[in-house]
Amino acid sequence: MTDGAVKPAATAAPALRGRGTASRLVQYILLQVLIAIVCIVLLRLPLPRPPDQLAVGGFSVADRGESRQVALPDFVPSRLSMSEPAIFTGHFAWSARENGRAWSVYLPRFTNGVVVLVNGVEILDSRRDPAANRADRATPEIGLIPASLLRDGDNEVSVQLFVWGPIPGFLDKVYAGPDESLRSYYEWRTLLFVTLPIMFSAWQGMLAVILFVMWAVRRGEAAYGVLAVAMALGAMQAFLPTAIDQPTFPELSATLLASAPLESACVLAFGILFFTRKWPRLLGPLIFLPGLTMVLIGMFGDPYAVRQSFLVLGIPALAVHLLIMGIIVAWSEMRKQDAPSLLLGCAVTIVLTTLTHDMAQVAGLIPDHRIFYTRISYSAMLVAIGVGLTWRFAQALNRVDGFAAHLAIQLREAEEKLKASFAREQERERAAALARERARLMRDLHDGLGGQLVSIVALSERNTAGAGIGDAARAALKDLRLVIDSMDDIGGDLMLALASWRDRAAAQLRPHEIALDWHAVPPGLPVYPSLRPWHVIQIIRILDEAVTNAVKHASARRIGVSIETVKATSGECGCITVTDDGEGFVPDGTGKPSSRGLRNMKNRAARCGAELELSSGSGGTTVRLQLPRRFPEGDATAS
């Protein structure tokens, strides 16, 4: 029955957890889809363009002997030779009335290099601008037309388009018009496609340095080392110039081309190390294969093969790396649900979306404007990495703080425990010393004094004349037992000492045929941690005195002892009352005790901080001893 009831509950828990993971996965995927959609919408937003009337029209292109009329933008096939540019020739009108206003030719986008001539005179050669030579950066160009070149009426603009593939050459619309109208469009594009990537590359360089330092200090964390390499590669390739035509160092050029798949492989390696904390020894090195193959091709193959390899190997490798990274990060997010996983997951989705978008553009699946966003979108990844690292760092600091605080608390606790244990140890030492002393004393007394006193008692009983001696010896024995008994460690429980006294008092009273009515009201007396052996002796002697008085002077038949805890003005306190049914005595008028014995009782009570009340009448005597809440440490009132 119970088994049946327990089992479904046990199986329900993992199922519930499974459902939780599933719903989290769905949420995660929905978020990524949303991000992808937003990305696509943003990517499809048209970039601002100058008004169409400034566009240069009537273009014809002369490409390797063939000539045709074209409307820009236009593509020309990729080629091997740099000496065979496609020459686009167009016309624009300029009026002499415009004299005094600077005119420019603005080329928003072209691949890969342009030389612009106005009326047969060269005004611009993009190949001298290293940033403009990179196909992945949509670098715009603007050329100011020297006023002397412009002719009233029709002007000819000629654009020589150099293509060094792997993708076909491209020339977007060419604009000619007043510099003031065109410059702002140029600046906007420069900011977006030149300045911003450089900024991010600088940021990447910083990350590389930070990560290298991190790795250098924490050698165990290989993930940071790998990421540092990735960041260094990325930063390097952004700042090294792209070689055109026949590079001086083909190996360098190939490495640069291979840098993207190598970098993505390093980032993936980081992802694997950072999120799974395991390195797959067999499959792991495979991710570096495309990049390394490209390096080999670059070193031994021709430039065209190098460029083709980028399309065939580099881009797919990038995509595969991103996909694997996305899966790892999603898995990590499902498991840990922490900020770095989520951020990096979103960043991977952004890069993957833009990569797909760019490739679709190249493949002609979507209208091609030759604007590649992959490199820029990669900055999202850099931001995610930066934020993730900072988050981790802050978390680690928090943990350290928490740990330090925890440690401080533990230290304090340990210190207190140590102090308490030291005090306990001291107390124990004291008790042990007392016990040892008591045992020694007891042995001595037992073997010596005790036995001799017993002999005296025995001898005195042989003849009636010795009765007084016998009594004295018996009293001495009783006192001896009291002294020894009071030295015992009773842990502040006066009841224990009183119980021993009860045995002795009962034995003392029995020959006198006086009954001892013992009445301890549960729970008896409170425990007094301040109770010391000398307090016990004083209290027992007071009780002894009371009992002795009742026997000797009052001719009592019954003696009652009552022990209870009473509510006094200062709170609860212990109270011992000794009553007898004897003749009583009359305290003199001044209220002073009438005999030396009574005065002694008062003195003893005062030394213990207790209050003694005596009342006596024809019905008997009552001695009431009210104990203090705390026994005094020293014997201050001792004379």
Binding site: V454, S455, L477, P511
Partner: protein
């Protein structure tokens, strides 16, 4: 074994071992006057000789004897004559003496200076199956059951076999409550308290393996 209640004072044989002549005389006088059949011995040797001729119903012995220690005598008697009730005679009734005697088989103690009537009454109670236990001895035992009381002092005592109920009873006695009060507090019959105390005494006895074997051999010999 006949029921103790049926024994008259004359039928109760006592062996009294005490080396101090006045004390011996005093105790013997008290017991003889009460009608008991008392044999006296002043040394361990005399006591053993007396035991050889007659096994007493009750053994009362001092611990410090000229030719040895009373503890040895108690142990011997306890092993060979389990029916003999044993009490130790103590000058001060201190636990040093009493506990070491209890652990070898004694059941309580008599104070050397006790009044004659008390001495006779104690022996009668003992034979009747009432094992007296003083508050100070009860206190010593229960303090030992508390793990916090360290380091152990005085004679060795093993309280591990005591049941919680027996410890409760000892606490009651140590705090001076009467048997009736203890019985009421613990929800038991007053008549069962002496039985518990007897059981406590037996549990405090030290049984070594050697003693157990010795006992078995003794009983085996008797059976043969």
């Amino acid at each position: 074994m006949t029921s103790p209640q049926e024994l008259s004072a004359q039928e109760i044989t006592i062996l009294l071992v005490e080396d101090d002549p006045p004390t011996l005389w005093r105790l013997q006088d008290a017991l003889v006057k009460a009608g008991f059949d008392v044999a006296a011995a002043a040394t361990l040797g005399e006591a053993r000789a007396s035991l050889a001729s007659r096994v007493p119903r009750v053994l009362l012995t001092d611990l410090q004897l000229p030719d040895g220690h009373g503890v040895d005598l108690i142990r011997e008697v306890r092993q060979r004559h389990p029916d003999t009730e044993i009490m130790v005679i103590s000058a001060l009734g201190d636990e040093e003496t009493v506990i070491s005697a209890i652990t070898v088989g004694a059941t309580g103690y008599i104070l050397k200076d006790a009044f004659p009537s008390d001495i006779a009454a104690t022996v009668r109670d003992l034979v009747a199956g009432h094992s007296p236990i003083s508050a100070s001895i009860a206190r010593f035992i229960v303090r030992r059951t508390q793990a916090s009381v360290e380091p152990p002092r005085g004679p060795e005592i093993d309280t591990a076999r005591l049941t919680p109920r027996e410890i409760d009873i000892l606490w009651g006695i140590a705090k001076g409550f009467s048997y009736a009060e203890i019985a009421t507090n613990l929800g038991m019959s007053r008549q069962t308290v002496p039985g518990h105390i007897k059981s406590i005494y037996r549990k405090l006895e030290v049984h070594t393996r050697g003693e157990a074997v010795f006992e078995a051999v003794q009983q085996g010999l008797i059976k043969l």
